[in-house]
Amino acid sequence: MNTKLGKYTSFNTLLHHMDARVKLITMIIFMVSVFLDYGTTYMNLVVDLFLFLILVILCIIGKVSVGTIFRALKAIWLMIFIILIINVFFPATKTGDIAFSINDFPVYWSSIMNVIFIFARLVLVLMMTNIFTCVTKPLELTNALEFLLFPLSLIRIPIHKFAMALSLALRFVPTLQEEADRIIKAQASRGVDYKQGKIKDKVKSIVSLIIPLFVSAFTSSGQLADAMEARGYDPNAKRTKYKTTHWSIVDTISLFLAASFLTGAILLAIFPYDLFSALQITLPKLK
């Protein structure tokens, strides 16, 4: 299990000190711009490349390991392969230039570019979320979410209850991990082998892990509820923040940069500009 991916690591960098709300907004902006359509697949890839460079710079600033992200990609190679097969054998368009033929079966450039494009989007989204969670404490994350969801409170949706539930859920991830570890050890001494054995045995061994885990999760959630009430938690009361956030000049600049990035992306999407035909570079036709 790759536990390093997306795990908050405490460093003293610019990104770590930024306001979580700004980071969250920036991430959303980046995500929107990944999924905008800039006219042609080539232009989309150009924007993706630009975004990739920005993200690599952010990785370097925030001391996030790029290697970890690419190591995590190992798991999705199979998916990429399947997408490739589907795209090659069932092309979306049967026009455009043919890259090569396998036994007279034409493989279109558009199929190949499509796969590259899907892959690029996946990598970018993974990078963004990974950078975000690596430099933001889970608690700050929930605070930021609570702040951004505040319009919902106008229509009487209790967001701070959601935020509380979310922060508790995040708080209990490592606890459950520990619990799972303990249960695995206890069952291993009863002869369960989680790694080897037939499929039937494996299913059985997973049951012997999941049921105790659920039981303990329910027990501890009940205990937690009691402990919170004992200390006077009232879900309807107005909540104050233990940690106040400080807005700094860096936040203003970043927000401004992110906003201009979004404006640029939207403008480019509305008024498509084909860089390649302007530079008179000929590429295989996709349509």
Partner: protein, 305 residues
């Protein structure tokens, strides 16, 4: 000699910034049919050591032998004298077929063992262990029934759901789950935490019975009166090292060591010691519990024994 540890080292999160040395140069031998106590403060490495006894954790370096099964991780050294971590890592990745046999020989009862319960009925849960070690359904149920009788749970419990039992009964089901595997060596990690007084007493009776039947018992505990009453050997751990390997009688008399390692001798023992200081010729080696102390006083005073 069923268990032998040789220069065992273990570090949590090895080669990471948050690494923590848990065991350092542990060399111990547990003989056949022993009743040994492991004591030490929280975080002294008791639980880590226990997990080495049935290969739940493998030593970073060192050798663990359980009966004829050997887990050996000798230190790999490069030509320049530095430790070759890559080669060590490779050694740990090898498949270890002897692990299953080891786990069959050494049964561990963890702290709060009731979280290992998962089946619908008590009988099914207890027979889970033997089935994993290759018993047929009937054999497993036979063993489960035997184990449940040992922990004083009668037939009326067999078909009940373990989740609706009381805390003490759950604990007994969990312990039966280990006993049903019929391990030769039983390792217990603070097994009575959270049990009421009666449950604790019954539990130690059970352990004593098992010991009398010929099993070896290794017990990690904070209860010194239990150590005095039952154990014939005591090992004190501190910061991952063995600091004392002796008998309870010697340990509780060693005032200097007790104060430096903040271990409180049991009240019975302190009482007997002060009686001796005031001139009563009590034989300390006879003192194991309140009743034996009373017998000693009666003997000295010439009363009825």
């Amino acid at each position: 000699m069923p268990i032998q540890l040789n220069q065992v080292y273990y570090t949590y999160n090895l080669n990471r910034p948050d690494s923590k040395r848990a065991l350092e140069d542990i060399s111990l031998t547990f003989d056949d049919h022993c009743f040994t106590a492991l004591i030490g403060k929280t975080g002294s490495g008791k639980s880590t050591l226990i997990q080495h006894l049935n290969a739940l954790l493998l030593p970073d370096s060192g050798r663990v032998q359980i009966n004829e099964h050997v887990l050996d991780f000798p230190v790999q050294v490069k030509k320049n004298g530095k430790v070759n971590y890559r080669k060590m890592k490779k050694l740990h990745k090898k498949k270890l077929p002897q692990v299953k046999e080891i786990r069959k020989t050494v049964g561990i009862v963890f702290q709060f063992p009731e979280y290992q319960i998962f089946e619908e009925t008590v009988l099914k849960d207890v027979s889970f262990g033997p089935k994993n070690f290759g018993c047929t359904e009937e054999e497993a149920i036979e063993k489960a029934k035997k184990a449940l009788t040992m922990v004083h749970l009668d037939e009326s419990f067999y078909e009940r759901s373990p989740f609706e039992l009381s805390g003490g009964e759950k604990r007994r089901v969990a312990i039966a789950g280990i006993l049903a595997m019929e391990p030769d060596i039983l390792v217990l990690d603070e097994p009575t935490v959270g049990l009421d007084v009666r449950g604790q007493r019954e539990f130690f009776h059970l352990i004593q019975d098992l010991y009398d039947q010929g099993k070896s018992i290794i017990l990690a505990t904070h209860q010194m009166d239990v150590v005095l009453r039952t154990c014939s050997r005591v090992i004190v751990l501190d910061q991952g090292k063995v600091v004392l390997d002796s008998t309870p009688l010697k340990l509780f008399q060693d005032k200097e060591f007790l104060s430096s390692s903040s271990i409180e001798p049991p009240i019975v023992f302190s009482f007997a010691m002060s009686l001796i200081e005031r001139g009563m010729p009590i034989r300390l080696e006879n003192i194991r519990s309140t009743s034996t102390l009373a017998e000693e006083i009666a003997r000295v005073k010439g009363g009825k024994q």
